[in-house]
Subunit: 373 residues, 2 copies
């Protein structure tokens, strides 16, 4: 996100939503398009040609105006706000993330997102003790002024939200802002809407799918100064959140547990690897107190007025396409490695990758990696 922070007009917000809802446009591609074309509007205009150059034969399915209008209306109906990544109300720690969601839907008390936030995550099949601990430390952290962020899942998440309900908690959901998952947390969801805040990246009405959860986890860590993992087995999804926190430069903390309990193996391993051990709320407060909040890199001057970075010439791109394709495989490769491997300039490689992605031939992976589909 290198857009200057400002409130968008309704028309601009409409274009942002339309661009991110377009086929093959993920957050990284979205931000790159915005950097390249200066506005979502200009990017939308350029899309069909870009996809064609990437080798797409049938036209790219750009989100229709009607669809986007329906999404706006549906959000409005339930009182949810759509916030774009460059807007002042969009949480800054999240905007600082490379693949920040261009648009999020927010329901409830959006102002809570301005607080210093800490994520509490952990096992769905948590132990009684784990849940008790999570609820207590969430309460303590809430009372210490933190917004407690979690994912509305069973187990630790539920306990964390419950503990911080009175002081302020944010639930980041994997599906649409109006879709409660798991259904048994319907009551908690409604309580959070009343007293806290719910955040979603998926379009309203979306039923959550398996693939949504890891993407959702990057929002949980992205909203927060640090992530505290309370209980986690070796393959727990919470460890994905911890890894994302690490990639986002956030603090990773973990609660220790008996090595005989498989639900503590993940957390103990995190501590072995350098996560801060947390036994009390004070440990979290101390770990976070000297951190400066993650900040968005503000662009130099006004990008809207400044000339866009010029697009590489078609002749240059023409020659580059074969080289980039040759250097790509089904195993993900880091973008900078790809640039080095191609022995071409970064803007040329990035533009070719963008074309290929829009054409549906290349996929982004976490850690700024790409692979052929």
């Amino acid at each position: 996100m290198t857009q200057p922070r400002r409130t968008l007009t309704d028309a601009e917000r409409f274009d942002w939503l339309r661009l991110i809802r377009t086929e093959n446009v993920g957050p990284i591609t979205f931000h790159r398009l915005l950097d390249q074309y200066g506005s979502a509007r200009a990017a939308l205009d350029a899309l069909p040609e870009l996809a064609k150059r990437g080798g797409r034969t049938k036209p790219l399915r750009v989100a229709s105006k009607a669809e986007v209008e329906r999404e706006f209306a549906a959000n409005q109906r339930i009182g949810a706000r759509l916030l774009c990544a460059c807007e002042p109300d969009y949480p800054e720690p999240l905007a600082a993330v490379d693949d920040a969601p261009p648009v999020v839907s927010v329901l409830g008390h959006a102002h809570l997102l301005r607080r210093r936030a800490v994520a509490l995550v952990g096992a769905r099949n948590a132990s009684l003790n784990g849940k008790k601990f999570a609820e207590q430390i969430a309460r303590d952290l809430g009372e210490a002024g933190f917004l407690v962020v979690s994912g509305l899942a069973r187990g630790i998440d539920t306990a964390a939200h419950a503990g911080a309900l009175g002081t302020g908690t944010a639930a980041v959901v994997a599906g649409g802002i109006d879709v409660v998952y798991p259904p048994e947390n319907d009551r908690l969801y409604r309580d959070i809407v009343q007293q806290g805040v719910v955040v979603a990246e998926s379009a309203i009405g979306t039923q959550p799918q398996a693939r949504h959860f890891p993407r959702r986890n990057r929002l949980i860590s992205g909203l927060s100064l640090g992530v505290l993992v309370v209980e986690a087995a070796l393959r727990s999804g919470s460890l994905i959140t911890a890894r994302m926190a690490l990639e986002q430069g956030r603090e990773v903390m973990a609660v220790p547990g008996s090595p005989l309990d498989p639900r503590c193996q993940g957390t103990n391993n995190l501590i072995k690897e350098g996560a801060s051990l947390v036994a009390l709320a004070d440990d979290v407060i101390r770990a976070l107190e000297n951190l400066s909040p993650p900040a968005v890199r503000e662009p130099q001057g006004d990008l809207f007025a400044a000339p866009r970075p010029s697009e590489p010439a078609e002749s240059e791109l023409e020659a580059a396409r074969a080289v980039v394709l040759e250097n790509l495989g089904h195993t993900p490769v880091a973008i900078d490695e790809l640039v080095r491997g191609c022995q071409l300039s970064a803007p040329v490689v990035l533009t070719v990758v963008l074309e290929l992605e829009l054409a549906g031939r290349v996929q982004r992976q976490p850690g700024n990696q790409v692979n052929l589909i």
Copy 2:
């Protein structure tokens, strides 16, 4: 311990034992006397005059020959060996400790003390899980070739010895080598004598007193490359062993546990403060594998032949005594601070402290500190 390593004659060993069994002679003072006078014999001769100079009015109670003969005979009767700190069979990691016991009594398979050793210690009122964990990891470490050292106490110690009984375990007792404490561990004690090794610093027949336990703990860590604390509350004696390990430059390791269990607060705190988190025997093996065994600083040349460091002149000492006493108080002070505070040379201050100690007016404390009694 800066004596050259060699097997002593029976007469020399007799003098060593007699010197360390003498009133007001602790290990530090013992080693200093040996450095100063070259042999235990010469030190014994110098003692009465030193104590008198320190201000003692009634004569110093030097251990009688008869007492020392009885101690030798009693050890021999049960098959225990007396090892002096400079002898080749005395465990080298222990000899490397500043306040290494000048003489230890060893019963059972003394050769086990040549193995790389790891101490396992923890709560006496350990949880079932804690004991299960200790027994299993002791077995694993034993099978990996380590000697498992512990203190024959209830709880974690008992479990550790039991787990490593088949491969080799060392019990360091606080009282005499023949005194089983707690009595309920009589069977385990006899098993260890048969299959492992028992080590004691106190004279044979000594009933353990509260003050013996912290001193015993320094042997547990001193014999080992590292100390693993399995379960420990905030004021557990195991934390003393961990602190001693740290002072001795040994690895400190701890097993994590639920913050809700008070028996894990001590271990969790150790991890917070930098101890290695141990969940598996492999974690211990990895933490210890690259450590070079603690080594005794060998003296330059043959100290027995070389001239002794000359004793400061009486005129110098005379003036120094008042200054040292003035700088000492009832609060322990580090020896080097004392030297700086007195603005006198180190040999002068050390000699005065030695005199005062023998006179019973000054007490040594852990961490090379002294205070007035």
